[in-house]
Symmetry: C2
């Protein structure tokens, strides 16, 4: 937003030595069933972490691509910028998810990844991942799956943006968020939004006022309780119902 804070991190800001082998998030970002030897080799490749402070960028559009990043803690948004100043949030990423895949095609990032809260990521140098995945079949397939999953996720967003009304979009957004939080051991009814109404709106193709109004309407109707960024899902079934009913089958 503010062109002032355009501070992408320089080469090696805060880097830390670590190991996947004893990482609690391994099930999320690594293939399962690796041998000790394979794990050790992966440890050798993914040897540094990087801290990213709130509102600063992990990478920015135009920067040279050299690594994928596995999120360890914190939440990110990715967002693309058009030449004319428009921008669009393309996703919100949380622990265990991978960002940076956009950079592979042209060896250059085409979107920004900005931390919504203080965060920490594992740096996975792409050329070394490539080498290693030639030897460790499970890693190769895992990488393919990660990329394919992202493609499928984006199909879902396109469906949302192309066919849904505001209420449906916000319901889908909330349901997706709690589902992912639940998978990470958080409550399935309470959540703290790490992003602004603005950012939610950008992601959902709505203006922030519409997001705010729709939150209010959901609250009035007793489906959720909203206190700023704290949301409590009171009637998840009715929220789900918003998605399956009104469909204009085009």
């Amino acid at each position: 937003m503010s062109p002032a804070s355009r501070d992408s991190a320089p080469s090696l800001p805060h880097s830390i030595k670590v190991a996947c082998s004893n990482c609690s998030l391994r099930e999320l970002c690594m293939p399962v069933g690796l041998s000790d030897d394979e794990l050790a080799r992966i440890d050798a490749v993914i040897s540094t972490r990087r801290r990213v402070k709130r509102k600063t960028a992990l990478f920015r559009s135009g920067e040279k691509f050299h690594a994928l990043y596995a999120i360890r803690t914190g939440t990110f948004k990715t967002c693309v910028n058009a030449e004319d100043g428009r921008d669009q949030v393309t996703g919100f990423q949380m622990a265990g998810e991978i960002v940076g895949l956009d950079g592979i095609v042209n060896d250059q990032h085409t979107c920004d990844a900005v931390a919504l809260e203080d965060a920490e990521v594992c740096v996975m140098p792409f050329d070394r991942i490539g080498e290693l995945s030639r030897e460790v079949g499970a890693l190769q397939h895992h990488l393919h799956r990660v990329m394919s999953r992202e493609i499928v996720r984006e199909h879902g967003v396109m469906l949302l943006l192309g066919t849904m009304r505001a209420e449906e979009r916000l319901a889908a957004f909330l349901l997706n968020l709690v589902q992912r939080l639940q998978a990470r051991g958080f409550s399935r009814s309470e959540l703290v939004l790490r992003m602004t109404r603005q950012e939610i709106g950008s992601y959902l193709g709505l203006k922030l006022e519409t997001v705010s109004r729709t939150f209010s309407r959901f609250a009035e109707e007793g489906m959720i309780e909203v206190h700023q960024r704290h949301v409590r899902i009171v009637d998840i079934e009715r929220l789900r119902g918003l998605l399956s009913q009104p469909g204009s089958p085009m």
Copy 2:
């Protein structure tokens, strides 16, 4: 649309022996700078073609995934279906482009690929591609780039769906189409739409009436000439201008 024509092709409908090594589309779907040996090994893997008749599916959502497909001739649409009957065209693919990437994550396709005209594709069995890319580094990187390119393309569609007005969407659509056609040796001002207004609308998140009206408006204003599916771009600069001006920088 008509639930009658739900005929995805069975195991081996019309298959033909072929070779990438002397294929004119190689620059589009294969890495460059391969040795003769490497090319021969790729030929061995991509050994069959398949014909797909107009309005029939190359694959459908739910089917088991086993191959990627490189389009040789013809045009496809890919489209995702929601449980509630909604559907969304996620892309239009033409010669040299790859479809099927969505199937990798869960070993199952999550969208339909339907031929908009009689078409022919090269079948690339995914497990064999995987094996070979472990040995041929250029192929591995190429595959990564293809997937990354698709992710970046979808970012662009999200920007379009999330931030653009009808005129901008249609202008972006037309400009993208001619650009890709031109890259394939076709005119940069004449094009034949292989899809209906309906399908364009689904892709652009608009109703078919809006697409039709917007075409008419462009024609009135002398930017294009439209005769059904034949479109002539008269003033490409003005069309481009639609994309760079009005931006609501959110």
